[in-house]
Amino acid sequence: MNIIVCIKRVPETADADVIIGKSGKDIDKSGLAFDLNEWDSYAIEEAILLKEKLGGTVTVLSLGGEDSNESLRKCLAMGADDAIRLTDPAFEGSDGGVIAKILAGAIQKIPYDLVLTGTQAEDDGYGQVGVVLAELLGIPHAALVNRLEAQDKKVTIHRELEGGLEEVFEIDLPAVLTIQTGINEPRYVSIMGIRKVAKKEIKTFGTSDLNLKAEDVGLSGSDIQLEKIFLPPVGEGAEMLEGKPEEIASKVFDILKDKGGLA
């Protein structure tokens, strides 16, 4: 089975002090660490598990600047066979729909049975690219997949719904699946492992290689545009418990007694 996995390199913001950048349209990323999008680490692992079971190849695709090579290499170290980076100054400002269009342009050049994406990207959180990709490729899809079994020309998948319920579908191949976290346990890659693939060529494709027109990509091809970003209003907010740890602890005890019926 030949599998294509779309991956994105994103800034790690959960633990970071997020500051709004000068443009007012994005955060200041200068001090941030970057890594493979969490959902995509499950997608690449799932592809490698399928390859180990059924044979075939795994190709990783990423749209992004040269920095994205780092995440592509991580996927190669995990066991992917090939990596392709899609890059062009004209791609700047692309929204989810355009990103899907560019990825589709590249995927049409590669033979495949299955395309995997993450359910959503940690940064923009569109939750859109995989499903649009299926539409543009004219093949079936399922989103939020948390279990996957492949047969010859079809897959049986579980889709995660609200409240822990799942729905099971059978889907003809080729298909696009957007992968949900928890479907597997992404393998660890060592620095040694990454060093081993450091020299492997990463092909790049731009607008003209993909038969796209400059006006169809970037901001000019997009449906939506980001006007400005701002810190969310805190609303009523929490009363902050301050002081020495012991004092805070006493306050917590009082709250528990007061509100939680602590005996």
Binding site: T13, D17, G125, V131, H141, A143, L165, F169, L226, F253
Partner: protein, 326 residues
């Protein structure tokens, strides 16, 4: 007449809350621009749901077909393509839910209709829409505009819009033909699988001590468990803790886990993504412990502690034990 269409979301005979939220928001937008509101209902034998929807819309656009008995992105896309192409609504609202995330982006692409996903704010100046979305796991908000002319599609986050009670609308029932044929489907529904029932029911606990990715390693969980034991609390968690198999799925709080309503919920090392908050906002009192003062969890809490959990939790445990003895 200009129309806004809301897609009714239902599963196993019940309308989901996001439907009422979208109808409420959709109506407010419609009133502001002299438009009407229609609600599209797809299904089999859903007459009762149509009745329930009537007072909330100018019309219920009902499409019944045996092949719509359960949701399937393929059938939904076909039926809604016909509906939207014929009625040309000014705006289509769909939930950004497990269902909406599965088909709305494909439907919009198919119709070449500009789409904004997971919106928590929709404002209109005349016919120009301005949307609010969240980026970076809810750490920043963004104002977003459409670059292309409508009609537009917006997917709406569950719980983002309140349901405002207003006078009843006429709710004319309009039955429409289904676009489906007997042609085979490339995606076939097999069955639902229920969530596994575990040993502990976190929905019944008075005090929940909930851990997130901030716990770093499974080996650190016993430390928090000791604190939970000291206060008679039950251990629950955010999704990454379950994804890593550190705690079983039945301990997960959030949209894809459980909805809990304890007297006190203590969130430790949890950032407060909306999928998590949706599951715990019914708690009586929320205490959040996080080293990041900007963590979104603090806006869902009544009390906040900015601290390193590894330092504060053992002190909390000791102090509680000490004070309980007194």
């Amino acid at each position: 007449m200009k129309e806004i269409i809301v897609l009714a979301e239902h599963r196993r005979g019940e309308l989901r809350d996001v439907t009422w939220e979208m109808l409420s928001k959709g109506r407010q937008l419609a009133e502001g621009m002299g438009a009407e509101i229609g609600v599209a209902l797809l299904g089999k034998g859903v007459g009762q749901l149509a009745e329930a929807l009537k007072p909330k819309a100018h019309r219920v656009l009902l499409i019944e077909d045996d092949r719509l008995e359960v949701y399937n992105s393929e059938t939904y896309e076909k039926v809604l393509t016909q509906l939207i192409t014929e009625r040309k609504p000014f705006l289509t609202l769909i939930g950004h839910t497990a269902m909406g995330m599965d088909f709305a982006p494909g439907l919009a692409a198919h119709l070449k209709m500009p789409l904004a996903t997971d919106c928590i704010g929709i404002d209109a100046a005349g016919e120009t829409l301005s949307l609010t979305r969240q980026l970076y796991g809810g750490k920043v908000n963004a104002t977003v505009s459409f670059l292309k002319k409508g009609p537009h599609m917006v997917t709406v986050r569950s719980g983002a819009f309140p349901v405002v009670e207003k006078e009843l609308l006429p709710g004319e029932l309009v039955k429409l033909p289904s676009a489906l044929t007997d042609e085979g489907l490339a995606k076939r529904f097999l069955q639902y699988v229920e969530a596994a029932v575990g040993e502990v029911d976190i929905t019944q606990a008075d005090i929940l001590v909930s851990i997130g990715r901030g716990i770093k390693e499974a080996d650190n969980i016993p430390m928090v468990k000791e604190f939970a034991d000291a206060i008679g609390g039950t251990l629950s968690c955010s999704r990454p803790v379950v994804d890593k198999k550190w705690l079983p799925k039945d301990r997960q709080v959030g949209t894809s886990g459980k909805t809990v309503k304890p007297k006190v919920y203590i969130a430790i090392g949890i950032s407060g993504a909306f999928q998590h908050i949706a599951g715990m906002k019914g708690a009586g009192t929320v205490i959040a412990i996080n080293k990041d003062p900007k963590a979104p969890i603090f806006s869902a809490a009544q009390y906040g502690i900015v601290a390193d959990l590894f330092k504060i939790v053992p002190i909390l445990k000791d102090k509680v034990k000490e004070l309980k003895q007194k």
